[in-house]
Symmetry: C2
Subunit: 349 residues, 2 copies
Amino acid sequence: MTVLMPYPELLSLVTRIFVDRGVPGDRAAIAATALCHGDLTGVTSHGLVNLTRLYLPLLDDGRADPAADMVIQTDLGACVLADARRTLGLWSASQAMELACARASRYGIGMVSLRGATHIGCAGHHAARAVTHGMIGLVASNCGGQRIAPPPGGAATMLGTNPLALACPAGDAHPFVLDMSTTVVPTGRVRAAAREGRAIPPGWLATDDGAPVTDAAAFDRGGAHLLWLGGDPETGAYKGFGLGLLVEVLGALVPGAALGALSADGNRDDDIGVLTLAIAPELLRGGFAADATALFAAVRGWPARDAAVPVVYPGWHEGERAARFRAHGVPVPDEVYAELHGVRERAAG
Amino acid sequence: MTVLMPYPELLSLVTRIFVDRGVPGDRAAIAATALCHGDLTGVTSHGLVNLTRLYLPLLDDGRADPAADMVIQTDLGACVLADARRTLGLWSASQAMELACARASRYGIGMVSLRGATHIGCAGHHAARAVTHGMIGLVASNCGGQRIAPPPGGAATMLGTNPLALACPAGDAHPFVLDMSTTVVPTGRVRAAAREGRAIPPGWLATDDGAPVTDAAAFDRGGAHLLWLGGDPETGAYKGFGLGLLVEVLGALVPGAALGALSADGNRDDDIGVLTLAIAPELLRGGFAADATALFAAVRGWPARDAAVPVVYPGWHEGERAARFRAHGVPVPDEVYAELHGVRERAAG
């Protein structure tokens, strides 16, 4: 059912596939790392499965540009506005975060705001780049003009699943990496269930009248819509929707990217907006790194209701999987393995 | 049941009560505005009811200092770390946001991070100060060392309700103000229901075994704990918990305030950490204000499932109530009115 691929071999294969499409080599390697991050951490809904379904079609249709340069439009030192010019979001979001970290190393805080981006993959991967600099990284990305979920009480979809991610160092332990859609789940998890014919739990999808839907395939048939984190209005739907708007504001309104509520057709995730923010806490006070280590060690050591199921923080399980898969190989489903090699051979042939 | 008090009279009464406790006049007026914001916007759980239950006891017990000066510990220009030195959080959080806006007007972004703060009241009120400068304001505050909700799967409480707020201009319309606890509801809403003997919906509280609890009084009896936004693990509990940790990191770990997971007794919300962040988007690009106006007008005009219940964004209802109450008086429950006057007369006598 799955092939175990050595991680360097997988990275190199995906890098070559991007290079075959005209992406410069250093950029292709960064994009491949972002794409493989999904499978490396077990978040397969945001990994290799999207190569032939999302990223290569973007390049083939000209909606993504393999080799354009990002253009800085405003530079205020601690914050920068740039046009990503349809480059691969898998690359541009990482570049933006690296630039944010460089600015944070001077100002304590650095913000790089992108317009004109394409799909960035796992937001948490880009946020976690800050951790390698001992910094906190925050990423918020809208879905361009694409409308996926309706507002509470609304009769039509308005916003995307609008991911939000925060990463923070935890000493030698796996970093804290919160990486969440502001809907209950991202579309990728619904589609993965639909592909596998699995029923989904009540609370992910609902009909227009609010009835729960457990048939994952109903989503792409148009028979159900995604719920906001919080579920019903009395258990916090307005918070989930509000977080979706928070991402729309920080990620897309600030740089002037496309907005779901104002786009012409609501179908395309072109002109995505991305916020990357880095904070360099050790510049503010000594002792941050030690306190962060102590905080996340305390979380991991917290008394559990079931001793067999220890308390964890977001990012822990992903870090464990990545360590295991780096050592023993990354599981790649047979059909995805065949897709990767098929793409590569067609390009080489 | 309620007295309608003219807003200026209410403000002036609360200001005098703080002045009677030794708070300097200009500071008392700012704190009174923050406290009255709850009742002015209909968020009564975070308003005047807390004066005799929370803020005056803090001052009387010496846990809050009426007249200390905040001390800036690190100043990097775009970001500042300050010790609030137990001053009233109702005041210090607004001061921090004003300083963040001043820095954002120079650098595009401004962050002021507080340690040593006391309870700030409505986080959204402080965030909305940025809107008066045409800016976006973000506030995150932990609950000091106080532990209120357990992590998913945890056998003991770990973090506070850790509020997060974002405010954004919407032209002449009421600003977008998301003001949320990262638990399903804040403790104030549970206690308000308990005081009124109202049952609460399933999904707010649960027993240690996860069974829903609808008796609000069970919370302070220790028979139930607050759930994280998202509810169950399969509908997003790890996102709510992750957002609680996000606030803990940004609000308290950055400045070195008390942390729920590391505090000695877990009972006291002393040494609260507060993040205030301002973004000045018009410095990054012209046209932000017009786009923000168009975005929130589109949300308000969105097709509704029930024409009698228009689509709104967070902050809209609060803005409507504030406009009405400014014009016609702020409803104050009889017993709170009696409390205010009792406190004032004891001080004067």
